[in-house]
């Protein structure tokens, strides 16, 4: 029971996919023009993540190691198709506003990442909670970015007017450039915290520590994160233990 709670906490806070791991940034930037879109996309991804995690965990002893990635992609794509039809039938307004980004959940690296690093090694029960935790963490990330952009860009939250009538909305924030700016400041704020912590501890700060560079890294957003010698060592130790 303890482990399930730990999975939830891990996904929502300590390893939050949006704010800590910086995964799945394409959908994050594309759909967070309003809070409601953020919630919709987050919950859709959560459902797919939970189902695919459970299915892959169930099949983990059947799928041969060499073809595991294509097998995972087929599982994920099937669930995406099912969820897409459910949305089209029951929540057409959300289906219209998310559009092309629903089928593109297939290539969202959070889902494949969890399948590869967690569901393929753990029981169905734990994988389900891992999916719920990560999915809700992603939903929290998308919703808070959506609230921020909608509040400043349109003066509303979930379509309720918050700002006074005299507020002149910064429309740029709900347009494409705004997505880039918001994300840039988000990563910069993270770096600020890390650098501050490192300086307090008297450690030196480097930006990217991968020896082979970022070319082969699927998560390019890590390239901008500040690293300290200590954090690199901690991550390596964690990888060794796993």
């Amino acid at each position: 029971m303890n482990k399930t709670v730990e999975r939830l906490k891990c996904g929502m806070i300590t390893e939050n996919p949006t704010f800590v791991q910086m995964l799945g940034m394409c959908p994050t930037m594309a759909v967070t023009t309003s809070a409601i879109n953020g919630v919709g996309m987050g919950l859709t991804t959560t459902v797919i993540l939970v189902l695919s995690n459970m299915m892959i965990s169930m099949l983990r002893k059947v799928i041969p190691d060499k073809v595991r990635i294509p097998a995972y992609i087929v599982v994920i794509a099937s669930f995406v198709t099912i969820v897409q039809f459910l949305l089209e039938g029951f929540v057409p307004s959300l289906y219209d506003s998310l559009g092309i980004y629903i089928p593109l959940i297939v290539v969202n690296c959070i889902i494949l990442g969890r399948a590869e690093s967690f569901a393929s090694k753990n029981s169905i029960w734990l994988s389900m909670f891992d999916g719920i935790g990560m999915g809700l963490g992603f939903t929290i990330g998308l919703t808070s970015i959506g609230i921020f952009r909608e509040l400043l860009g349109n003066g509303t939250i979930f379509n309720f007017r918050i700002m006074p009538e005299s507020y002149e909305p910064l429309t740029i924030l709900i347009l494409a450039p705004g997505a880039f700016f918001v994300l840039a400041f988000l990563i910069a704020a993270q770096n600020k915290v890390r650098i501050h912590k490192a300086k307090k501890a008297g450690a030196s700060v480097t930006v990217c520590e991968r020896e082979e560079g970022c070319a082969g890294c699927t998560n390019t957003f890590c390239g901008g994160k500040a690293f300290t010698e200590e954090s690199v060592k901690r991550e390596k130790d964690a990888a060794k233990e796993a």
Partner: protein, 191 residues
Amino acid sequence: MNLFLIAIGAALVNNVVLSQFLGLCPFIGVSKKVDTAAGMGGAVIFVITIASAVTSLIYTFILEKLNITYLQTIVFILVIAGLVQFVEMFLKKVLPPLYSALGVYLPLITTNCAVLGVALINVQKSYDFITSVINGFGTAVGFTVAIVIMAGIREKIEYNDVPESFKGTPIVLITAGLMAMAFFGFSGLIK
């Protein structure tokens, strides 16, 4: 004329990276130097054009004939993954000079969501074969334009005094945001 407008629209007005946020990973990861960026752009043009042609044919002649269009997402992603592998092997065997120029970038393209995105857009807008290929080509050219400009700017940023917490991805994203604003200027080209 109509095809020309579709190509311009895909390349400049609805730029795949700057207004649709597809293919952001290579856009940020492989834009440190102009020549590698151009190499990546070349590989993307090559793969997206072929992929739009193949997915368009598969959609019209297999999925629609058998009435199983609901399988499009699954079929497209598998076809694209297989196609990239096949293109890589084919180039290695038949056109070694082209392979040595594009080879390193080809495996990276499998994770590029722009390829799947273009295939799905072609189906969504029910483009015919020629239009799909032109749309794919235009989109890929738009990607190349964006990544090469970005690499040019990044080479200059190297010499600038960027605040410590903005080094790396944050300053790249701010640059991309400014580029996205500049690309709004193209929106008047097509009504």
